[in-house]
Symmetry: none
Subunit: 378 residues, 2 copies
DNA sequence: GGCTATACTGAATCCAATT
DNA sequence: AAATTGGATTCAGTATAGC
């Protein structure tokens, strides 16, 4: 029978040969301190976000949102969270090679604190990266903007570290020959990729998509590099590392997660060396809000819109709605309402007068799209 | 001759009547301290990250770091930047109304420090917003991802401040009827919008696009609100505020920028009031008790109510409650009870029979509202 | 089998007025 | 002031059920 999965190791200190491609069950700081100094090329960290949620949140259909209320995400104060952050960042810095880099992911709840802490400790920020979610959870109460992204920080160990790995050419080639930007678009982890328990419930509340990890590893590591994940969870980092021909070290406190990760990684088939190229992420299909046309001055507030047969009129307002008398709503709603229909595509229905002619606002949208697609020529 | 531009004011303290729609030339903290407490609705701040403070050059960015003591030096400069940040955030918090909100924009060089500081001071983050640039500057050396975005933080003055302004419905209506996300796409400020000196050089190094400020003000202010910008620069905030029928206060240290901003704002033509009305949803409608529908005869006692699938029935009573058997309570409570839920919107749940069709009682409520509006005019 | 309708879900700091 | 009550609020998907 062949040995297929990673194995727990509890001896101390780790012999050089033993700690690669294994999951260490324990506290992130303790376990990192057992690793040799300057031994890993890249660290990916998905620490607790310290969400500080209040009461229950219900959807409009009265179902309850399954919140992240696990004990590991609870901290007494910002101070306590900062102390925790500094501790693991410091331990991480010791095990990082001089030209190694660190990735951290977070949300607005914690990422500012993490960013400030890592600057304080001497890390040097190379980029902040925005993971734009194609399918984020809505804001159910309509009290804020839909929280549609998370933030990653990519940092080198030192300000003067200049020869960190960045596969610029590969990224550019995989991105229609334009350089990879700091905003990435990926779906959240769901469907078949999402690990489930026997009862069908999600195995881990915050499992990250493999595509995200793939881009990270393809950008900042070479085949054979060692990637450390001190908050291993169900092992996304390990699975992607193995598939991409990188070595990994995972640290995870919960035995349940460790078991799941072991099985998951054992099931991964590494790619052939030839196939180690990146799967391109979805290209951004820009939704252009009507508000953007107003904000951009392509349509000015007060402009009269009319349909192609000039039977109906509406007036553009500064907030990006349009009004017939005192009745104001979206271009679609008002279009439907004046015609007595249930629905209407306002983009094709409404026109602006240009001299004697009428131009559908959809053409202005095209114009806006072109402007937005045009890259600056340095 | 009409007075067309904002005017400098140097008296102290400011009389209530004097400080609106003016540019105060001076240091942001000093000038904010002269403003009345709890007097502005929204603050937009675009702070420097490379600033002069007490004669010492701030350098959280890549500028010359002494080889001998760079860790200490970095710590020193971050410390100084944090002190500056806390000072202006504190002064800003004093002038903010209890339900006021603060916007700050920054890049990875400073935004993590700003975010951590404002959390420490008691601000409550509502969203972080990503401004994705359609035309960012490329990364010339190919050593990093193209830095294609900046980050904004939107925060309320206190954690418990619940009734801050957020024009949810207007934003949604202007965005193809889906809620506005936390990632926004705008071009950088260039072309005709970019202010130039006589020699053709850009007048200000970090002039923000008006579209960005328009989105911010349309999202978080009402017409007539006061917007403070403590780092006014060439007055983008003032220009957009004036155009959108908001009042502004600008603080700027450089006389050159003040002059440019004055002229710029003087040239702005405000929009008509009609074009500035904000779309509002049901939340803004006056509350109509179900009892008043009964009193007005729109629903008569004894009428049978049913849900859209005719699964449940209830009977209207003269006191404006409804009853299932002997169990009587509000339309909401009974609606929840029959379904076994803990909440229910009775207005949309219950219907009256009209011939073969069912009409939601919400339509009767609309009718009642119209009658009340008519009666108020008569 | 294939199509349609319904149900369920995701790192969420998610109410406001009245009694 | 704390507790109660009225009643407003969701996007992109996957999974399952029904026909």
């Amino acid at each position: 029978m062949k040995r297929s999965g990673p194995v727990l190791v509890h001896s101390q200190p780790f012999p050089e040969i033993d700690w690669r491609n294994q999951i260490l069950q324990g506290h992130c700081v303790t376990e990192m301190e057992r690793l040799p100094a300057e031994s890993v090329d890249v660290i990916f960290a998905d620490p607790p976000y310290n969400l500080q949620l209040g009461g229950d949140l219900m959807r409009p259909d009265h179902s309850k949102v399954d919140a992240v209320d696990d004990a590991w995400d609870q901290f007494e104060s910002f101070q306590a969270y900062d102390a925790f952050t500094r501790a693991w960042l410091l331990a991480a810095r010791r095990v990082l090679k001089p030209n190694g880099t660190l990735w951290v992911i977070g949300s607005y709840h914690n990422i500012f604190r993490v960013g400030a802490s890592l600057q304080d400790l001497g890390y040097w920020i190379l980029n902040d990266i925005v993971w734009r979610k194609t399918n984020p959870m809505p804001n159910f109460r309509g009290k804020r903007f839909q929280n549609a992204h998370e933030t990653l920080i990519w940092a080198s160990r030192d300000a003067k570290a200049k020869s960190y790995t960045f596969n610029y050419e590969a990224l550019k080639a995989s991105n229609d020959d334009v350089q990879m930007r700091s905003d990435w678009l990926f779906p959240i982890c769901s469907g078949g990729e999402r690990l489930k328990n026997e009862d069908g419930a999600k195995a881990h509340p915050t499992q990250k998509p493999e595509a995200l990890l793939a881009r990270i590893l393809l950008a900042s590591t070479k085949p054979g590099d060692v990637v450390l994940d001190p908050f291993f969870g169900t092992g996304t980092t390990g699975a992607v590392a193995k598939r991409l021909g990188r070595d990994f070290v995972g640290i995870e406190r919960e035995e349940e997660y460790v078991k799941i990760a072991q099985q998951r990684i054992a099931d991964v088939e590494p790619l052939d060396d030839d196939d180690l190229k990146m799967a391109a992420g979805k290209r951004a299909e820009p939704r252009v809000p009507f508000a953007s046309l107003v904000e951009a001055g392509l349509v000015t507030p007060g402009t009269e819109l009319t349909d192609s047969k000039r039977r109906y009129r509406a007036r553009v307002r500064a907030d990006g709605t349009i009004a017939v008398g005192d009745d104001a709503a979206s271009i679609h709603r008002i279009g439907a309402r004046v015609q007595g229909l249930d629905a209407c595509n306002g983009w094709t229905f409404w026109h602006v007068k240009e001299g004697k002619n009428l131009t559908p606002i959809d053409e202005l949208r095209q114009l806006a799209r072109q402007r937005m697609a045009t890259a600056a020529i340095a």
